[in-house]
Amino acid sequence: MISAGDVVFAASMLITAIILFWITLNHMLRSGKAADFSPFFFAGILLCFSSALSFYGVFDQKAWFVLELAWAIIFLAVLIRLRRGNHGNN
């Protein structure tokens, strides 16, 4: 049974993913460096996956652990790029 809360939750994730994709794409084109913004692109993919899987009860299953692990890897990639500074040119 899908509740209204589920729909709102999934829709908000989906809208965030679309905005994230759009901003990332524009930044990639403007700066000309696709690799620097790639973690945000993968974050958008994960948001899409989470939004669709929320209708299939993923939160109670082991697959949720894999999704959370993927988030951790993405945050780590962003952190490493930020630590490098100067958009990874150093």
Binding site: L29, S51, F55
Partner: protein, 165 residues
């Protein structure tokens, strides 16, 4: 089994959203640019075909109805999209990233063919692996188009002109 169905649907969702973004960016760039529009619209057309295929697949997975005729048409559409992609890349060979192109041709063609074969002839649980691998094709498409747009941008053209002068 539910989670596998969910993975398939989420994969189709990712495909359609990323491809819609790419199509809209390609069309916007085509309208904005005064020169060097070559190759933008055929890519957009190819991606539109892929979006139609992913909508058809997601509908069939979500409603759990498999119609052989629609499956055959979808497989043909996907292969046609790949053919358009390769043909257009050869047309604009000077501006594309060759490594990404070869990665796309090898990964894309093999996964698309496997996907069509699994969908049409083999009823197997391993189909989900092929469906998930399709995300890899979309990622390669995405970075390929980004590098293509950067290489053909007006800023780059100015730089090229200055270096010649």
């Amino acid at each position: 089994m539910e989670i596998i169905e969910g993975l398939a649907v989420s994969n189709y969702l990712v495909q359609s959203i990323v491809l819609l973004m790419l199509v809209s960016v390609l069309v916007i760039e085509c309208l904005r640019r005064k020169s060097n529009r070559k190759g933008l619209l055929p890519y957009a057309a190819g991606f539109l075909l892929l979006i139609i295929a992913s909508f058809s697949d997601s509908y069939q997975t979500f409603v759990l109805v498999k119609t052989p005729a629609i499956m055959k048409i979808t497989a043909a559409i996907v292969i046609l999209a790949q053919v358009i992609f390769i043909w257009n890349s050869i047309r604009v060979w000077k501006f594309i990233n060759k490594k990404l192109f070869f990665a796309d041709v090898i990964i894309g063609t093999s996964i698309l063919t496997l996907r069509a074969v699994f969908k049409l002839f083999i009823e197997s649980g391993y189909e989900i692996v092929i469906i998930l691998l399709f995300v890899a094709v979309i990622v390669v498409h995405y970075f390929f188009i980004v590098t293509f747009l950067v290489n053909t941008s007006e800023k780059k053209e100015l730089k090229r002109g200055n270096s010649k002068a």
